[in-house]
């Protein structure tokens, strides 16, 4: 079996990379260890509407509900509202991640990428230290898949990166311990994504309530690994649901555990190898959001791979184009939000309440974490001195 590119992982980053590599003429195989693309849904299922203008998904079946904005609640439940009408730009969707992932895979397939399910990568093929492909198990059959480029799109575990010699291990302070329910029988009339902050609510993270419909919501928690104790994410989320009048009667349609990297960027390129998505730690360290990045970065990766195949140059030096381009696109944001994440850790609940109080009637100039950070810097310049260079312009 010989391909130009083998992509390990059929999530959003893997499928978008596969699509653009295939569109550029590369012969692409995607291997996925699970039995169904997009299942299980390891996600809060929120995404910015800015993806509309990128035209990467057809149809609307993957949209569960359009949002009017977001509400952030401090520990004493002071609310800061970012709404479309106030901020004057696009907000977001709550999506069906399974259908979303399947739509991205369908697009990749249409471009010519092949997919193999129930196929688990178990190692890299190496010759004289050079990566030559992937060893995999397809059902109970051992496969050697030769390829000039291996793409590690294998999520938070990032085994492909590890096998290639990149240090992908996350420190406890750089990973969120997550639990998520899809709850039915809840009362979520307002189309707002809600975020709840506080050391007792979700240390080093937050609880989210993303309404998928008026009586169904994706409700989850992230707790920073360094502040986590065995089973803490589940305990805190269960306590919160019991205490919230909208959610108290909710019943779970599904439960999922998750782990989200919230680290600084790592090296994403070696000779014959590229990392994308969670495997490349291309996640916003403040929000834990990574879906839009997968689309942005996957396109860059796919296009660079197609160029590499055309020129038959698979060296790290050539593939570094990808790393330079993705860092140009999202690197500054990731760095800024990592700093904000660290600053937030030092804040006690009272300070968070004070911040929320100072922003509760604020007119944000954009609907984004940047808009929020800009407002904080403006209101409390001495506390956020370190962030001033990041919010100019």
């Amino acid at each position: 079996m010989k391909y130009d590119v083998v992509v390990v992982g059929g999530g959003p980053a893997g499928s978008v990379t596969a699509r653009f590599a295939a569109e550029g003429g590369a012969k692409v195989l995607v291997i996925e260890r699970r039995k169904e693309i997009g299942v299980p849904v390891l996600c809060g299922e929120g995404i910015s509407k800015k993806i509309d203008s990128w035209g990467m998904l057809d149809g609307r079946n993957w949209i569960s509900r359009e949002m009017d904005g977001a509400r952030i609640y401090s520990p004493n439940k002071t609310m800061v509202k970012l709404s479309a009408e106030k901020a004057g730009n696009e907000t977001g969707y709550v999506i069906h991640r399974d259908l979303f992932d399947q739509e991205l895979a369908r697009k990749a397939m249409k471009a010519g990428a092949e997919y193999m399910m129930n196929t688990k990568a178990v190692g890299l093929i190496k010759e004289d230290g050079r990566i030559k492909g992937v060893k995999a198990m397809h059902f109970n059959e051992k496969l050697e898949i030769e390829a000039d480029i291996v793409v590690g799109a294998d999520g938070v575990e990032s085994n492909v990166g590890k096998w290639a010699g990149i240090d992908t291990t996350l420190k406890p302070k750089d990973i969120e311990s997550c639990l998520q329910y899809t709850l039915a029988n809840v009362d979520c009339e307002d189309p707002f994504t809600d975020f709840f902050l506080g050391k007792k609510i979700a240390p080093g993270g937050y609880i989210w309530v993303f309404p998928k419909g008026k009586d169904v919501a994706n409700v989850g928690i992230g707790v920073l690994g360094s502040l986590s104790r065995p089973g803490l994410a589940k305990k805190l989320l269960d306590d919160f649901i019991k205490s919230d009048p909208r959610l108290r009667k909710g019943q779970p349609l599904r439960v999922l555990a998750g782990a989200v990297p919230v680290s600084l960027p790592i090296k994403t390129v070696e000779d014959n190898l590229i990392l994308v998505g969670d495997a490349a730690r291309q996640v916003d360290p403040l929000t834990g959001g990574g879906l839009t990045h997968c689309l942005e970065v996957g396109k860059i990766a796919g296009e660079v791979i197609a160029e590499a195949v055309n020129e038959q140059n698979f060296s790290e030096e050539f593939l570094m184009r990808y790393e330079r381009m993705w860092k140009e696109r999202i690197g500054k944001k990731l760095e800024r939000n990592y700093k904000v994440k660290e600053l937030m850790l030092d804040l006690d609940d009272k300070t968070l309440d004070k911040f929320a109080d100072s922003l509760k009637d604020y007119n944000f100039d954009e609907f984004s974490t940047k808009g929020l950070i800009k407002a904080l810097v403006k209101k409390h310049p001495s506390l956020f001195v370190k962030l001033i260079p990041f919010v100019k312009g």
Partner: protein, 63 residues
């Protein structure tokens, strides 16, 4: 002194993979869809135990 090792309760594990990403000894793998800790590589540091969102990892005495 009794040395400890971490052990996954397969009935509780929801296969999120966080313990694999966090283990600095590369001692954890998915085996038949659940996290599995390689005894001989585990140093009993307990990082994965504290991380697990559902409390599926416990301590056992090393033999």
């Amino acid at each position: 002194m009794v040395r400890h090792k971490a052990k996954v309760n397969r009935e509780v594990c929801l296969s999120c993979g966080g313990c694999i990403a966090i283990c600095n000894q590369d001692a954890i793998r998915m085996v038949e869809g659940k996290a599995h800790i390689n005894d001989s590589a585990c140093i009993g540091c307990g990082i994965c135990i504290n991380f697990c969102p559902v409390g599926a990892i416990g301590k056992v005495d090393a033999v």
